[in-house]
Amino acid sequence: MDRSLLRITPSGAAGLIFAAASFVFLPMVLGSYWLAIFTSAAIFAMAISGVAFMYARLGMVSLTQVGLMGIGGWVTLRLNYLWDMPFEVNMVLAALATMICGWILALPALRMRGLYLALVTLMAAGGLEILFATYQFPNGGEGFWGVKIGSNAPFRRPALAQTPEAYLRYVIVVATLGFLFIEGQRRLFPGRAWALIRRSEAAAMAAGVNVTLYKTWAFGIAGAIAGASGALLAGSLGLLDDGTFRSSESIMLFALAVVGGARFWLGAVIAAVLFRVLPGLLNTWGVDTDLAFVIFGAGLLHALITAPNGIAGQIFDLVANLRGKKGKTHD
């Protein structure tokens, strides 16, 4: 067993403390409006961790993440109305189904790099957008697509999380597990292979790394994470709307992952807060929520010009500097 797997870094400890604090305090202090927003933000933080991981570890730009979330959500809703299985089973099956979709997406994508890879994934997102708009999401109707006119059939929320407060806690736990899963992969042999692939694919092949396999695996992980997030999104509302899964949202999600800092857990959290909480905040202030796009644009310029590791990278650098100075004064 790899001993470094369970090593807790300062950043990791901060992340776990942050997750625990959010778990305990957020549901206590938030009203129903903010509960819904923070639940959605936690779900998107998890989805963002998938794209951010692909970008940070392999330099691959995936612009399909929200579309893949839609697949996860679709599978969850479909299974919910098909059989009487608990939410958790549906979520795992949705994650697996989306992982397979991620692999299928990876097949053409693996032959391409950089901009071309991004374009292929964007086209896939566009295709999914059309599928969702055409067939809608299952709401208890008959047939394969399961759509009916009128009110929705009841959705089974997780047994552990029947109230909005409990559901936010539930989402925080699942999202934390998602983050830990990715970090675990990064610390074991897939992480080593990815690091070398990013350095140079030729060097990775010369080291016996099956580049195609590990890239496909990365797509699969990002897909599974997206699928689980889609399932959680379906679970929070009991229904889904195709407007949530537009390809423009995937682009936004990726851009914000860069703004937040793709290499850090905090980056995904910042990105999710910008993506979901900021528009909510503008809304309560009575300001047009489209102002958020202006702020996103400014954030992206800031990241591209001055902060290659995003806002999270700057925060961690700042903390490291402060600790360094403190250490020196003690010497």
Binding site: F189, M205, A206, A207, V209, N210
Partner: protein
């Protein structure tokens, strides 16, 4: 033993390698030649990054040209590149472990082997240092350690001494000479440093314009008038 048999490589109209044949059997063999002679191209054919137009490469009796590059590595081929390929965000130890991650050997055995090889190259005390914090020579040594794990059959170094000081080159040469005793692997080195080649390589292949112009014991090869002509750029001596 590596048996290169009539390898031809073409890039469009350019013949980069023209029916090059050589059977390298010395524990440490060299490949030299002027810039553009086809040395790295030959190494790329053996490691699978370039497809040969015709010819065969046998390593320890296995036909290598039929295998994907990563499969060749798993069959015991190692190579380094002109620029060392060390991942900046992995530790020295992790950079070495990558090489054996595909094998099903136990984790502790793989780790022990990696640590042994890091001790051989003199980096055991820096095993947990992150790749980005290494000096150029430390990166090169990490690369060498990575080539030595996982029971290699053939290790190819592409200009390993490039950018190293005289002392570092000597240290690297001493290290390369030990590889055969330590791992049983045969080593092939491409370098411009004729002094290094003549010190550590028992036999040497000389390429020029994609052709083999000499092959044999290093001292004989370096004394060959055609080799001198190729290096010094004088008129080709009559065959």
């Amino acid at each position: 033993m590596i048996d290169i048999d009539a390898i031809t490589v073409r890039f469009g109209g350019l013949v980069a390698l023209n029916e090059v044949s050589a059977t390298l059997s010395a524990p440490v063999a060299g490949i030299i030649g002027p810039n553009g002679a086809g040395k790295t191209t030959l190494m790329n054919v053996v490691s699978g990054f370039i497809t040969a137009h015709s010819g065969r490469v046998m390593v320890e009796g296995q036909d290598f040209l039929a295998l994907a590059p990563h499969r060749r590595a798993q069959k015991g081929l190692r190579r380094s590149f002109q620029k060392e390929q060390i991942a900046d965000d992995l530790t020295v130890l992790e950079n070495v472990l990558v090489q054996t991650d595909w094998s099903l050997t136990g984790w502790s055995a793989k780790r022990a082997e990696a640590m042994d090889m890091l001790a051989v190259v003199g980096l055991a005390d820096r095993a947990d240092k992150i790749g980005g914090a290494l000096s150029g020579f430390e990166r090169r040594l990490t690369d060498v350690a990575r080539c030595m794990v996982g029971k290699p059959h053939l290790i190819m170094f592409d200009e390993p001494a490039g950018g190293l000081s005289v002392d570092e080159t000597r240290q690297l040469g001493d290290l390369i000479v030990q590889i055969h005793t330590l791992t049983g692997a045969q080593t092939v080195i491409i370098d411009h440093d004729v002094e290094l080649i003549s010190r550590i390589c028992a036999e040497t292949l000389v390429l020029d314009f994609g052709r083999r112009i000499a092959f044999g014991p290093t001292a004989d090869v370096l004394a060959d008038p055609r080799v001198k002509a190729a290096y010094l750029g004088t008129e080709e001596v009559a065959q």
